[in-house]
């Protein structure tokens, strides 16, 4: 069975001949490589060239809209000197040879840049060596370009397909020469996405589109409260629904297995089930607020420079503020789902997952199978945003498939998707700053009160608490700095949400910095710039955003402009938001973003990722919230948890500096500055400082 996510561009030739006639190269970090088959180590990237000259690149990262099926093969093709129109892209299936497959933390290009360049360069050198041997000349007399090796002096030329078999017999260079950036022909260009056509004609296969022979569909009735369970159920009424095949208990709840998705949905509606909510059944927002605000909480210092208490006590002017952030759902457009087939030989899964390897090991554990008997085919993901990092859905699908005795696609309705999300944690951020008589920042404190995702997911957290991500590394120069935290356990399921704790911490920090600037009587842009002497790349994007936005230029009456900047995932981002306010309705008109993510692999994809971060961050800032009542989420569907609509999408301009730094993340870094830029713009327009998100909730309460 071929992977449903397989992307085959029509123009591409099919691979023929098999491994004996093809150059198959496994590359593994750091820098060691040898020709396959027979490779026994764990490579992290693969390419193959067949006799026809078609290059196949296997991608181990999940495509969730961020363009890895295009950008990662570009890196290989560049160093390979391939003709990109003859590169065929395949989604890798879990295998130890790929190492750990996971997509998150804006790492896809960062972690692939060096190994994929080496993979392409090593193959290129082998093809050149094969041509040189064929012609009886030195490799230095040969040039690789456009999918062929050319004789530098003289007109001989051999295509990669003609050289593949010979190249496969050569030793793999351990340290191939990388093409210098000045010679790049593919990297740095807006190469069109390889999946664009199929995503516009209905052929693209997402997880929910997987169809296997004999496959059934299932929904699962689950207790909506963390730690709760199904107490008892009666299956009779569900079984009377036409198309329902069986009702089977699984660890996560009770599965209704049917001939179609609709029958599974109707069957679950008919199922009679009662729930025991467990110890979190009375949890609500007031209790969570009280927990986070606990005055007796013992705080853990994670960064302490100078003597904050003394500096703050001696400050000429001081300001303190508390910011509050709600839980957020991910609401990927494709609701959670997974398809599983479990048989005597093992388990096979088709999963729209960010974590194929983690899903594999958790499924193996859940079914009592060795890991090598579980394989995970990564399909296209209809959005990920961190939600699809979790292995819960693949595990559930495997358990349902085993209980049903048939291949099963478990589909979560949108209501399931929201109710059982791993929410962005709520947090309470308390900040304090002091200025000396000259308006210089002499004391900075940021206390983060939030539950720890790492502690909840893995049972323990090591090293610096995750909750201070984006707060501990505050880039502004202050006389004394104290960053501390309180991380109470919480009875709500939490997880990673695009930009993780930077989504709350940067918002609090960047809004509060405007408050400090106001206290100092200074312009927010100039105040920041002066404090960023030790952070030149961040300062540079701040200046770039301000200049492209026309910082200081007049705006229409009722409009406001705000700025914010933040470094995350190895990259630097600054945004200027222009908003208008009419009768408490905030409209974001324009966002000017400047990002420095090092060398840009594909500028069009970079722009799209920043536009995406703006849209995702803006929906959250304006109205994103999950309220908790009775231990469960109050919002149920997209009419109550409302993504941004097209008429709310601001104009977005994206700028970046030329950079020779290694590429860093871009999926997330555009998000953290958005909310504070909007809130700072609101304060500029109206004088109102909103410190509790979302904005619409804060505004609806009146001044």
């Amino acid at each position: 069975m071929s992977a449903p996510a397989k992307i085959s561009r029509r123009a591409f030739l099919r691979i023929s001949g098999g491994a004996s006639a093809a150059l198959v190269l496994g590359v593994h970090l750091p820098g060691r490589a040898r020709a396959a088959p027979g490779a026994t180590f764990a490579p992290n990237a693969w390419l193959a060239i067949d006799e026809s000259g078609t290059v196949t690149v296997w991608v181990i990262r999940s495509e969730m809209g961020q363009g890895v099926l295009t950008s990662l093969p570009m890196i290989v093709a560049e160093q390979l000197e391939a003709d990109f129109s003859r590169v065929r892209v395949e989604q890798a299936v879990t295998d130890p040879k790929y190492g750990r497959m996971s997509t998150g933390g804006s790492t896809s290009i960062r972690r692939s840049w060096e190994p994929l360049q080496k993979a392409g360069a090593a193959a290129r050198e082998m093809l050149v060596a094969a041509a040189a041997a064929r012609w009886g000349v030195e490799p230095g007399a040969c040039v690789a370009q456009g999918g062929a090796v050319h004789e530098a002096q003289g007109g001989r030329r051999l295509g990669y397909g003609e050289l593949a078999a010979a190249a496969a017999r050569l030793p793999v260079p351990a340290d191939p020469r990388l093409k210098p950036p000045a010679e790049f022909r593919i990297v740095g260009r807006s190469v069109p996405r390889v999946d664009a056509a199929d995503k516009g004609n209905g052929k693209a296969r997402f997880g929910i589109d997987v169809r296997l022979p004999g496959m059934l569909y299932a929904t699962v009735a689950r207790c909506p409260v963390r730690g709760g369970r199904v107490k008892e159920f009666r299956a009779e009424a569900a079984l009377r629904v036409p198309g329902v095949r069986s009702v089977v208990p699984v660890p996560s709840g009770v599965a209704v297995v049917a001939d179609s998705t609709w029958a599974a949905i109707r069957g679950r509606e008919a199922l009679q089930a009662t729930y025991d909510p467990g110890p979190n059944g009375t949890l609500d927002d007031a209790a969570i607020d009280a927990l986070l605000a606990d005055p007796r909480a013992s705080l853990t210092a994670v960064r302490s420079e100078g003597d904050f208490a003394r500096a703050y006590a001696g400050a000429a002017r001081k300001v303190e503020a508390t910011y509050q952030f709600p839980f957020l759902a991910h609401a990927t457009m494709e609701p959670m789902n997974c398809t599983a087939r479990v048989g005597a030989g093992g388990a096979e899964l088709w999963a729209p997952t960010q974590s194929p390897t983690w899903a594999q090991s958790e499924v193996a554990k859940a079914l009592g199978l060795p890991e090598d008997r579980v394989s995970v085919h990564t399909t296209l993901l209809g959005g990920g945003f961190g939600r699809r990092a979790m292995p819960d859905v693949p595990v559930e699908a495997a358990q349902v498939a085993r209980a049903a005795g048939a291949p099963v696609q478990v589909v979560w309705t949108r209501e399931d998707d929201i109710a059982h999300d791993y929410f962005r944690p709520a947090s309470r951020n308390v900040l304090a700053a002091g200025l000396d008589a000259d308006g210089r920042l002499v004391a900075w404190r940021h206390t983060v009160r939030a539950p720890s995702i790492m502690a909840q997911v893995f049972g323990k957290a090591e090293g610096q608490p995750d909750v201070v991500g984006g707060a501990a590394d505050v880039p502004y120069r202050a006389g004394a700095v104290l960053v501390d935290c309180y991380t109470p356990a919480i009875g709500v399921t939490i997880g990673w949400w695009r930009s993780v704790y930077s989504s709350q911490n940067a918002c609090a920090e960047e809004c509060f910095l405007d408050e400090v600037a106001a206290l100092a009587g200074q312009d927010p842009f100039r105040f920041r710039r002066a404090l960023l002497a030790g952070a030149p790349r961040l300062r540079a994007v701040l200046e770039l955003a301000a200049s492209r936005a026309g910082w200081g230029n007049p705006l229409p009456r009722g409009w406001g402009r705000g700025i914010a900047c933040h470094a995350s995932f190895g990259s630097f981002a600054a945004e200027v938001a222009e908003i208008s306010v009419e009768e408490d309705r905030v409209r974001v008109r324009r966002v000017v973003a400047a990002v420095d993510c090092g060398r840009v692999v594909n500028p069009a994809i970079l722009e799209a990722q920043v536009e995406s971060a703006v849209a995702y961050g803006l929906a959250a800032a304006l109205r994103g919230r999950i309220d908790i009542r009775g231990g469960a989420a109050v919002q149920r569907n997209l009419d109550e948890y409302r993504p941004l609509r097209i008429d709310e999408m601001p104009r977005v301009e994206v700028h970046w500096p030329e950079s020779s730094e290694s590429p860093s993340g871009i999926g997330e870094p555009g998000l953290p500055p958005l909310a504070p830029a909007v809130l700072n713009a609101l304060a500029a327009a109206t004088g109102r400082r909103v410190r509790t998100l979302p904005l619409e909730k804060a505004l609806s309460k009146g001044p």
Partner: protein
Amino acid sequence: MASFALDVNGKRLTAVAEPDTPLLWVLRDALGLTGTKYGCGIGECGACTVLLDGEPVRSCSLALKDAVGHRVLTIEGLAPEGGAHPVQSAWIAEQVTQCGYCQSGQILSAVALLARQPKPTDRQIEEALSGVLCRCGTYNRIRAAVRRAAADARREAKP
């Protein structure tokens, strides 16, 4: 269960299902047309949009029995195999797609708009597409692609 004759993408197809089954699930599970997506089931997100006699409808909220006697067009039927509708070409030219999950709903809504309004204003584009949600934030490129498709059509119409 009953048998229903449907006109889908110009073909006469038979679906055996309960009469109140939403057309969405008939298309996806019975007819194998998975290009039409499930997003919310309450007509809120537009991912399931198909054209019924040329008008965009939410197939999650349209009963199978009510689709009988009407022409249903799904994303798979928009262009002949191997070809592309001008709106699909404009989508590629503007590199609209990110995750791609909502795009068939977006494209079909744009096709319906341009059929009744060949020169849409930005406001009309927003009105026609505001019911189709995209979490990836492709909206500005959608606007550009609709404008491009409209301009391409006008250019072609000129002698």
